[in-house]
Every structure is written in C-alpha cells, then in structure tokens.
Symmetry: C2
Subunit: 477 residues, 2 copies
C-alpha cells in the first residue's frame, strides 16, 4: 500500500462510512467556495462526529504528514476553506458536530459545537428570551466554528463587537492532535497568555475549533430605525458622535450609503422607494435597540435624537420608521446595495477599515483618487461608518467584460486601493479575513515585524504546516 | 573589557547619565517588590526615555545575551517585576516614558506611554468629562505598561472587563529589539492573528509594552450604593442575577463579604459601623452607576431594585446609601477587609476564580474543607462575586508565628486551595498574575496542552529567554 492508501485505510477505520468518503460526487460541492471564485482538490472528505474523532484524525494526519483544510458552512468571503489544486489535503468538515451541549439561561452562556449554524444558535437563544448579538447575511449556512475562525463581523459590531467579543471559551484540536480545552468560562483568569485569542481569527491555521462557549444577551424588546439625508461623510460622522452622545448603549447600528448606491437599489428592487422626499448626497440608517429594561424609553430616545439632530443642523432631512415593516424596508435598502451594484456590471469590492475618526477624510480623498487614476470607473463607499469599516466598490467602465475586467484592470485597482488604505493606517481586511484571496497582499503590505511574529507563532504551533496550508500566513519572500 | 563592561559602556553611551545607572543606592528601592516578599539583584537600572531607546537597548541586550526585567510602578502582587538573585539581568524601568501622546475626546481614545500612572490617566480623562473605567488600590503607583502586562482587574471588571477589554492598540519592543507598532486603533481588523492579545497579560515575557491606546467612557454622573444582608452565597448569587435583570448595564459592582470579615473591619476601623441593624451571615455591596444619559433614572432604579429584592425574599435586610459620604463608608468597609484580616494574625491569601455559576457551591464546600483539613484555621472568602472571583484567605490558628507559619503550614494550605480550585475548573490566579509567586504552581496544576503551547510561543518569540526570565512560563519538568 502507498502511504496515502495506508492513511485512508486508517482514517476510514477511525471514522466509519459516514465519517470518511473519497466519492468525487460527494466531495464536489465542497471543493469550490460558494461564490465560485476558488476551487481545489482533496483526497477525501472527513466528517468526524466528536472532538475525540477530530483529535485522533489529526494525530493520523500528523503521522502521515497529510494537510488538513477545515471547513464549516463554506460561506467564507476569502477562500479560506477551499483546498489547493494539489489534492494532497483532506477536507475536514465540522458540519456533523452540530450539538448544543449546554445552555445556561441564568448565566447567559451557551456551549455549541463548531458545526452549529448561526441561525440555529439565534433560535435556541430566542427560546430562552435571549439573543446572540452577532448576525450576518450568511446566517443560514455559516457555522460557529467558521465564524470564530474568521472572527466574523456583521452589522451589530458597533455595539457588541465582532465574534471575538462573544467568545467566552474554546475547545480546539491542535496540529499534533492534542485537545486545547478552555471551554469553561472564567470571567477573570490571569494564568498567562490568553491562548484562545490566538485561535480566534486564525482561519484554521493554528488549530481546528471544535466547540465554543458564547455569551448571550437579553432579547431585544423594541427597536427604532431612523433614516437621514445629509451632504457628506463628515456630516455623517458628526451625526454618529451626536447619536453616541444621545443614545449611548442603545445605538446598535450606523450605516452610510451614497446617493449613487441608493439610486441603484431603487432601480434594482421592484416597488422600493426612498424613505425621504428629496435626494441627498449621503444617506444614514441608524438603529436604536433596547431590551426589556430600556424598551419604555426607546421611542422618546429616537424622537429626541431626531429633533436634536435637526436643531443642531446635522441633517438635511430625516424620518423614523413608523412600524416594524417600514424598519425592515429601510434595512432592505441597505442590504440590497451589493446585489444592486453587481447588476450594473463588473466591479471589484474591498472590505477595508481605517480609524473611525479618519473615515470621512478617507472617503473624500479615496473616491476621486481612484476615479481619476482609473478613468470611467466609479468608486462607491458604503457600510459600517461607526466601525470605521466601509465596503469600497469600484465599478467598471461601461462595456467592460465580466470576468475579464476583474482579472486585469480590477486587480490593478485593488492593489491601488490596498496601497491607499495602508497609507491611511487602515486594514486591507476589516471583517472578511485573509484566506487565499488576500494572502499575497498581506505579504506585500503587512508590517514586516508583525509578519515575522505571525510566521514564528505559526511555525511554533504547526511546525509541519499541516493546518490549512497556503492560507492567511504569507510565506517569507 | 569583559562582556559585561562592554555592554554597560555601550548602554551608557546609548542612554546617557539619566538613562543608566549602576549605583547600588539608586537600584536598591527597585530590587524588592513593594510587599517585601521578593528581592533580587541587577547589574544596572536602565530608564530609557523613548521607544527608540528601548529598541536600541534591547538590540544591545540581544547581542550580549543580557536578560531584561521590565518594571512599571513596582506594585505587582506576584513578584513579576523583581529580578532573580543572579545579578545577570538589567532592570528596565519604563517610568520615564510617561507622556500622554494623544487624547481624542470625540473618539474617546487616549494614547499613553507605558510609564503613565493610572491616577494620572484618570485625571486626564476627567478633564474631558470622560473616565477610564479600570481602577484598583495601587492606582497612585501602578503604570499603564504594568497594568497591560498583567491584564489587571479591580472592582469595575463586572461591567467593563479587565485591562484587556480597555486596550485598543499597543506598541511594544520585542526580544530582538524590533518594534511591534499596533497603536492605531481599528475597530475592525481581520488581518490574521491578533498579536496584541498575546502581549496583554504576558508579564513582559514576550515583549516590553512601551505605549498603548485605551478606550475612554463618558464620565459618571451619578451612582447608587446598596448594602444587603443575607444568609448564604447562594442567596447572594440569586440577588446578583436579580440585579442584572433589573439594573442591566447600570450594575457596576457586586461584592460579597462574610459576617466574620465585616466584624473584623468594624473592630479594626475606628468609628466604623455596620450599614444594617442586625448581623447577617453574608453582606453584599451593590454599586449602580450611570453617565449623563442614564443619571435621571438611577435613583428610581436603585429603589426598584431594593423593593423587588425584598418582595422576592432575596434579602434579609437592605438599605441604600443616603448620600455620597455614606456610599464611601460602605466601600470603606469592603476595602478594609484585607488590612483588618491581616491585623488578626498571619494568613495566606489566594486570588482565585471559578465559574460564576459555581461560586456559591464552591465557597460552601471549600471553607469547611480547608478548616477541617487544617484544624483551628479560619477560611474567609470575600470579593467580586459577579466575576466569579473571590479572595480566599486562610487565617492562622491563634499563636502562630508571623513569617514562620506562612512558610510552612501556609504553603501546604495554599497547595491545598490551588488543588481544590483546579478541581472546580477554576483559576489559581484570577487577577494578580503568575510572576514568580505562582510559576511552579502553574507548572504543577496547569493543563499540559496549554503549558506546551505557552512554551512554544515563548520560545518562538524569545528564543534566547531574555525577556523577564523565570517569570510566568513554567519550565519543562
């Protein structure tokens, strides 16, 4: 038997029929990322049912030097869960490990296995009149393991932080198959390095997250959604500071979108209409939210916010959603920007952040910078102003050929945008991660000291480079 | 010239007269920790004035293989800033680096050098009607660098988290002298491993923190302090859950103390008196606090909390401090427990945590466990119930000799307590860190997988073991 045959025989014995397959038809759906931008090969698909099985499998992989590509819902944005072309790796699906091990409503803690889907977590929390505050578009497929491994963001980060802030404890399998067991949540623990922080956001390159304990919050009892029109991102930033002052912890979301994006959405979504009478250079969506303790005060708070914003001359026009259906319509206008822009033609998208205080200045400078350097393109920034995180899209000139344009001009534009962001002290990946999509850009633009630290830590914890090779950590040049 | 002479000559040239001294009189105060429990020797005291100087000095140390013991206010609890007896190391004081580099009131961010004293930070924030939410007894000497390196706690952790939660960005010098520059705060950044998390709480073993960007909060506008008497820690836990439900984010502190501790304080502090008429097995101090946005609602909230707690039978008796002077008196009773217990005779103290949900059960079991295993001792637990963190003191039998008892029986008791805590899934260091005090206990009781990870990371980032050797990271056995 070859080494590969020996490995597969042992893995098959370990995991059984449900746990291991080499059937190309069964592998096929998982070898390409959901947006169809990356695809690869794998020698097998492993679907262990327990942490002990993941551990034993990893020991086997270490023995036979077989690389492992962990995968959750396969809904990542950066190709972090797609294997390379070599076919040397196994694809390790965590989807079978989907038990909720424990839910403690009094302590507001839930312990989930890695394969639990975000929507399932939301539903489990809701049963106890609690909520898990992180949510995003892919909630129907994204898994807890994937969300932790990518430190996922979403629209609620402003108030509640990204996935990192929700994680109280972690269980993970390391490169040698040993189990890192730090699931028990201690609010205070000062026994040295906080190793779980290393695993969060490491995209499976340092360990395979198998379970986590997450914090829950009291369920929302009420929300108020405001829409404002104003003249600039600078004005939007003033409105943000004002909203923080008036609404404090009730401020749950603060999204901006330019005139062009709103027009694109209105043209794209049948029956949609603008919340305001006239058109404005910039639009802001503000969400205030409160649990039972603060719900009574919320309508007044929203009204006060609106009135004081008018008085202070912070908005050109503004309105409050009259009911929940209208609030949903406001959010739909925000959520449909990406599809609406895509319908207009080819585009390259950038998930970037700069310091919140510099965001207005950045957008004001970067948009004309890009448009003048690449004639006939249109640059559009929208998204999470409160987090200093905008999605920066550059739309192709009319007549550009989809597929071709992104691979040529689009690539040059992305490099230009990443250069700009780096000059502004920002990040080339605010929330989507690095994966294989941005690994080389991180190598090109990352701080050499931090890259050296990353490589040293990666080598220390995975000396054989078995965990998700080719992702995240740029090689030495 | 010997190597040491060459090193000192080069360091002296680099740092100048104010920056380097070998004068034993100038060194002496810093060679012993403030509680006099650890002392050591150093070949020199370096006091660089800038990050560039720290970097150049560290390069020199790397070249000559000179170990470095970083020191802030020398107010740590675990001997983490005291050199060993060999005299091979230099003591690196960060106290001269005490500039506030930037304060941005709108963004609520402050960038401090490592030597800024906590109280100075509090005062700088107050000028802008802001506050830094972490505070502790040593605030007049503790420095930002030390607080970050030890991930310090305090009485406000319940609401605001420990030091880790306040840090937005870090600047640090690594073992090879390179500068880790991640001071610019990005609310969202997913470019791989969050390396600053490794430096926080690493007690100077992975890098020397030279500056940090910290978050600030709106200043407090009002507070309400409640005192309750009840029968058990279980009852206190019910009151905690009730308080979280009623007061939500306004709940700022929740401290417990047993009858014995209160009696000791009342005997120890002249003129002090109990807030309640009768004596109760357990006492609880609750602090509610609000900024300007929530101040109006606070008195009602406190009243509601009190009334509903009575109605639900959660307290035997309770009262609200009538004014700020009385609130201070309530807090004094809590803050004087440690000195009052010390006045009673020798004792060993343990800074431990267990999962919040298990704290009541732990105290109920551990106190008789210890007292029956070590006859005539008295075990006392008090402190931060809301964080699952109690200070667990064991008082010596009458007649025990101070100094002698701690080193013999006291040591056996500590090992017993640490064993217990470990069995309960807790931490042998909730907030004071490991330093040299608990390094061997961590080696004895720590999870072997996590110890191996710590050693691997330490070796990867400091292969010459130059950064604070002998602290925190237990050697292989």
């Amino acid at each position: 038997m070859t080494d590969q045959e020996q490995f597969l025989a042992a893995a098959s014995l370990l995991l059984g029929e449900r746990g291991l397959t080499c059937d190309p038809e069964l592998l096929q759906p998982w070898l390409t990322d959901w947006r169809g931008r990356f695809s690869g090969q794998a020698m097998a698909l492993a679907s262990p049912a327990t942490t002990a099985e993941v551990s034993a499998l990893m020991k086997l992989c270490a023995k036979f030097a077989v690389p492992v590509v962990p995968q959750g819902g396969n809904s990542g944005m950066s190709g972090g869960a797609t294997p390379d072309e070599s076919g040397h790796a196994i694809l390790l699906s965590l989807r079978r490990m989907n038990a909720i091990r424990r839910l403690d409503p009094a302590a507001r803690e839930i312990t989930c296995e890695a394969g639990v889907i975000l929507q399932t977590l939301h539903e489990a929390a809701a049963v106890e009149n609690l909520r898990f505050p992180l949510t995003l578009g892919g909630k129907g497929s994204a898994t807890i393991g994937g969300l932790i491994s990518t430190n996922a963001g979403g629209t609620q980060v402003l108030r509640h932080g990204s996935m990192r802030a929700q994680v109280l404890g972690i269980e993970a399998v390391l490169a040698d198959g040993s189990v890192f067991d730090a699931l028990v949540p201690l609010k205070k623990d000062n026994r040295g390095f906080d190793l779980k922080q290393l695993l969060i956001g490491s995209e499976g390159t340092l360990g395979i997250v198998t379970a986590a304990t997450l914090r829950l919050l009291p369920a929302l009892a009420d929300r108020a959604v405001l829409w404002a029109g104003l003249e600039s991102v600078t004005a939007a930033r003033s409105l943000l500071l004002h909203s923080e002052k008036i609404a404090g912890d009730a401020l749950e979301g603060f999204e901006i979108m330019p005139r062009h994006s709103l027009a694109a959405v209105l043209a794209h979504v049948p029956g949609s209409r603008s919340p305001l009478q006239g058109a404005h250079e910039w639009n802001v969506l503000i969400e205030l939210a409160a649990d039972a303790a603060g719900a009574d005060a919320l309508p007044n708070l929203a009204q006060t916010l609106l009135e004081t914003a008018f008085e202070a001359g912070l908005v050109e026009d503004a309105t409050i959603a009259a009911n929940d259906a209208q609030a949903e319509q406001f959010w739909l206008l925000r959520d449909e920007i990406a599809p609406a822009e895509r319908a207009l033609g080819p585009a390259v998208q950038h998930d970037i952040s700069v310091p919140v205080a510099r965001m207005a200045e950045f957008v004001a400078a970067a948009v004309p910078d890009v448009e003048s350097r690449f004639p006939s393109t249109r640059a559009v920034a929208f998204g999470h102003l409160g987090d200093g995180n905008v999605h920066f899209h550059v739309l192709a000139p009319a007549g550009a050929v989809r597929g071709e344009w992104e691979a040529t001009d689009g690539k040059a534009i992305s490099a230009f945008v990443h250069d700009l962001v780096t000059q502004w002290g920002g990040s080339i990946s605010a929330e989507h991660g690095i994966g294989q999509l941005k690994r080389d850009e991180l190598g090109r633009l990352g701080d050499p000291v931090q890259l050296a630290m990353m490589r040293a830590v990666k080598h220390a914890l995975d000396p054989g480079d078995l965990l998700n090779p080719g992702k995240l950590v740029p090689p030495c040049t």
